[in-house]
Structure formats: structure tokens, C-alpha cells
Amino acid sequence: MYSNELTLKSAPLEGEVRIPSGCAVSAIIDRGGRRMTGADIIASIATMHDRSNGLGGGFAGYGIYPDYKECYAFHLFYGDFQSKKATEDFLITHFEIVYSSEMKTRKIKKVANEPIIYRYFLSPLSKRLENSLLDEEQYVVRCVNKINAEIDGAFVFSSGKNMGIFKGVGFPEDIGRYYLLDEEYAGYSWTAHGRYPTNTPGWWGGAHPFGLLDYSVVHNGEISSYDANRRYIEMFGYKCTLQTDTEVITYVIDYLLRVKKLTLGEVAKVISASFWSTIGEKSDEERAQEEYLRKAFPSLLITGPFSIIFGFTGGLMALNDRLKLRSMVCAERGDRAYISSEECGIRAVAPDLDRIFSPAGGQPVVYTLREGADI
């Protein structure tokens, strides 16, 4: 079990407390690649304030670090300066630190007990990378896992290129302002989460989004297949350190997409697979594909209520559980596309829309940058 200064300080460990449900998710992408500040995504998630309880809020922004877009941007929480020193000793032997600084934040009354937050732009040391016999991404993943699992009090919560996750304990609109997302950053795509923790007490690292490399997941729901999914995914070197279901969803998608090279549509058919009876009604071709995917990855079927927004370089995917036990609305206006737990989260920033619809359970909605969009 993962425990360090950071978790111990916030009293009970993840998994020891049960608090009733809620959560809100929201996302905006400009498919033309035009960058927008975090103001709209904050306004969107703020409309759904009552879906969260102040125990977690967070954002992922894509295209926000154009000046360092070749570097892995690590965002770290530290419980103390010993953990910072230990982490930096580790980083310096594995990466060239191109630039580092304390995270810029603004003091907000409602955001308290902040950890120490640092940001590093990193480039893997070529010799070290070569000797590891890993590809570059896997090398970075291993380093992230190592810090999170082995350095007490340190937690890497963002590790992608030209993207960043910003999260903490508080209402999402306060967390957004705390990190100055409305002023300091502009990205072509944003996701947001307002947390109402169910099985976990809510600490800075446990807020959403969860990220690995440039992948990020925000999630409303509670998966009942957690242990089955975790046991399977841990066979492939992932470490589920937080006992929270969103972390395992992130690893499952990373494994299917990056390692097994499935398409997003195929990933959806694995994690939110149709019932056998529904598959039986489909055309021969669809049936063959869905049967194959269900049989190939039976342990990666995610059951229980969920609505997730998966962010990646160049796009977003919205997905519900196959029974659609959580709400989700998608909409479009020109180049902009919107995803939200509730329609009001979209209307707050885009009163007039070309199209608005609710995807069916298990039906992925994917929005990607248009061809030629420069990010």
C-alpha cells in the first residue's frame, strides 16, 4: 500500500473512508487549434458547482507549453523539502532539466494546506535512455512510477509533452484560479473535473485529472471492476498506488492505446463492451470485431457507473459505461466542441450551438484537431 507524508497528513488513507457520490466533468476543444485561456473551462465547470463538495478539482490543458513542447513537463507535489531533494537527485541522473521552477499560484482563501508544487521541463539523458533498452516513453513512464512508488512525499501528477495537469483539494473554480489558468495559460483543449469523492478521502494527488505522459482522464462514477482491472494491468508493470478507480482507467487506456496500439473506437469496445445479447443483434462484421475484443481483453471490461473524458495530444474522447449510469452531453459550434456532465456546463460558455446530443452508453465521441491545425 502506498503511503507517505502526503497521504498521512490528510488523515485517513485512500480507500478507508466512504463519502456519497457526485462529480462533474467538462471539456472544450478548438478543432482549429486556436488556443484559449482556462477562463471558459473554469466557467463551464463552475456552473456544476453543486456536483462537487470541495474535496477535489482539477484541469488538463493541451498546447499550453509551446516554448517547451519537446520536453516532458513534470508537475510534482512534495510533502516536504527532503522529498524534493530526493526527487531532484533522481531526476538529474535520468533527465536533463531544461527548466524548473516553483509552480506559479495565486493565494485563494478557500484553497488551504497546499503541498509544495514544482514544475520541471525534462529531456531524457540519452546515455541513460540507451542503456535502459526502453523506448523513450516507456523510460519516462518507469521514472514516473519509480518516483511515485518509492520517494516518500513526492508525487508526479503530470508528465506529458506540451500539456499539463493542475489539480488540488477545493472546488474546481477555486483550483483553476489558484493555478492562474485564466491568465497564465492558453491551450487548444481543456478538460475539467469537480470532485465529490466516493471511496477516498480527497487529497491533492487524488484529485482528477489523472495523467500518464500526455494522456489524462477525468471521471465521474465508481467502477465495480476495480480489482479485476488492477490485477490484470499490474501484470504489465503499472503500479496502482492510489486505490482509486480513475488511476486504473488511465493505465487501462494507456495499455490498450499506446502499448497494444488499439484505436480509440476499439478501446471503447473493450472497456465499455456491449452486452452479449446486444452484440448478438449486430451485423456479422461488427459482431466479429466486438466478440474478438471482448475475448481478447475480458479483464479490462470496466463495469459500474462511469462517464469519462479522456484527453490526449490533439483530441478528446467522451465515453459512458455501457448502461449509461452517468450523464453526458456533447455539443458543437463551429470549430469548438464541448463535453459536459450537464447541458448547463456547455450553455454557460456557448449559448448558441450547431448541434447538441447525448451519446449512448458505450458510444465513444471523439473530437480531434482538424487536419493542418498547428499546435
Partner: protein
């Protein structure tokens, strides 16, 4: 009374104003996600311009609610009486456990519309959907009437999967020649002509009264599938052998 809501107006304040006014007519402009509007209300006509939040008209007890926009989830949750008219779509679990009153939706409805809908003595709830319905329409339906007219223009079928799962009372009318998905073994589907069914004609008349954009004659002169619990094949021994 006219209430100009904005995004910063919390639902508790908005609903207190609606509840406390002596005016029988209330108009809410600029509504953006405020929950529980018209909850338990009777004797009023409440017009909502914008996007009302979840549980609109929950426990509604006689008032009329008109929405110019889309409704979110759990509209008319456990409503007892009154009318909700939505000029747009409604979200998931519309008419959840409704036991009286009527809900008319010009557009589509989400998953689980009419789940646990029931009737009691003189109370016979009705849900009418102009477009299509999501999966689990009429799940555990115990009474009341659900009508889906299939006038959606998105090319999707009139119902999705698992329609009528656990249905043991009431009736569902679907305006189609052929069911697009299988229904449970314990539910029976019969063919009826709209214009030959008095109950259906009267419901569609009411619907078109609220939505003159629909052609009443066209709607009724069509085949409907009428779903009811199959009393010859009741639920038995589903879980235990007794």
C-alpha cells in the same frame, strides 16, 4: 412574476422566489442549470427560458411547467400531478417513478424514461416523446402510459436496447412498423393503428395542442407497437426455484 436568473443565482434562492410568490404565473429567464425548479408545486404556471437543471418538477403536484429549451436529468421525478411541457429534449430518467400527471417532450428523451412509472386509482401518468427514446425505456414500468412518436431527424431508431425490461404494468406505444431491438420475453408486442385507438388519439391530440408544429393526422394514421406485460408469461423463477 418574472425572475431574471443568471449563472450566479443559486437554485435555493431561485426556488424560494418561485415558491414564495403569490403570482400564479412565473417566468424564469436565463435559467442555467438550477436544480429542483417547481418541486412539489401546485396551482402555478411556471415558464422556464433556458436550461433548467436536474429534477425539474420533482414531486410536482398540479402546476404546469413549460420549458423553452432542453431539460436535463430526472425531470418529473416522482411527480404526483400537473403537466410538464418541454420544447426540446429531456435527459436521462425523465418521469422517474412518476405516479400522476403528464410530461410532453417535443424532441428526444435520454436513457430510462419512465423507469418505475406507476398508476394508482384515478392517477394515470402519461409521458409523450415526439422524437426517440434511449435505452431502458419503461424499465420496471408498473402502470401509466408511455408514447414515443419517432419524429426525430437524426436517423436513429425510435428506441434503443432493453426497452420494457422488468415491465409489469401499464403500456408503451411506439410509432413504428417493426421493433428495432428485441424486447424481453415477459413483454408482449401487439400491432395497433393509431386512428383506431381512442386512448392514443386523445393523447396525441393533447400533445399536438402543445406542439402545433406536429401534424396530428399524420401522427395517428400510422402503425404502433403496443407493449404490455405478457400475462401468459409472467416473471417467475427468475432468481429462485419456487
Amino acid at each position: 412574476m418574472i425572475i431574471d436568473a443568471d449563472r450566479d443565482m443559486h437554485f435555493s434562492r431561485l426556488n424560494a422566489e418561485v415558491r414564495n410568490t403569490a403570482d400564479e404565473r412565473v417566468t424564469i429567464n436565463g435559467c442555467l442549470g438550477q436544480r429542483y425548479i417547481a418541486t412539489g408545486s401546485s396551482g402555478k404556471t411556471i415558464t422556464v427560458n433556458g436550461t433548467p437543471g436536474n429534477a425539474l418538477g420533482a414531486y410536482l403536484n398540479g402546476s404546469t411547467v413549460i420549458v423553452n429549451g432542453n431539460a436535463q436529468d430526472a425531470t418529473g421525478d416522482t411527480m404526483n400531478g400537473g403537466t410538464i411541457v418541454i420544447h426540446g429534449n429531456s435527459g436521462d430518467a425523465t418521469g422517474y417513478a412518476m405516479r400522476g400527471g403528464k410530461i410532453y417532450i417535443s424532441g428526444n428523451t435520454g436513457y430510462r424514461a419512465g423507469i418505475h412509472i406507476k398508476a394508482y386509482k384515478e392517477l394515470h401518468p402519461v409521458i409523450v416523446v415526439g422524437g426517440r427514446a434511449g435505452s431502458f425505456l419503461g424499465e420496471y414500468q408498473a402502470g401509466g402510459i408511455i408514447v414515443v412518436l419517432g419524429q426525430n431527424d437524426d436517423g436513429l431508431p425510435i428506441i434503443n436496447n432493453f426497452c420494457g425490461t422488468g415491465m409489469h404494468g401499464g403500456v408503451i406505444y411506439l410509432r413504428c412498423d417493426k421493433l428495432p431491438h428485441a424486447i424481453p420475453d415477459q413483454v408482449r408486442a401487439e400491432d395497433v393503428r393509431g386512428d383506431e385507438c381512442e386512448e392514443l388519439c386523445s393523447i396525441i391530440d393533447d400533445f399536438c395542442g402543445f406542439f402545433p408544429e406536429f401534424d396530428r393526422d399524420k401522427l395517428v394514421s400510422a402503425n404502433f407497437k403496443k407493449l404490455t406485460p405478457d400475462t401468459d408469461n409472467p416473471y417467475k423463477q427468475l432468481y429462485t426455484d419456487n
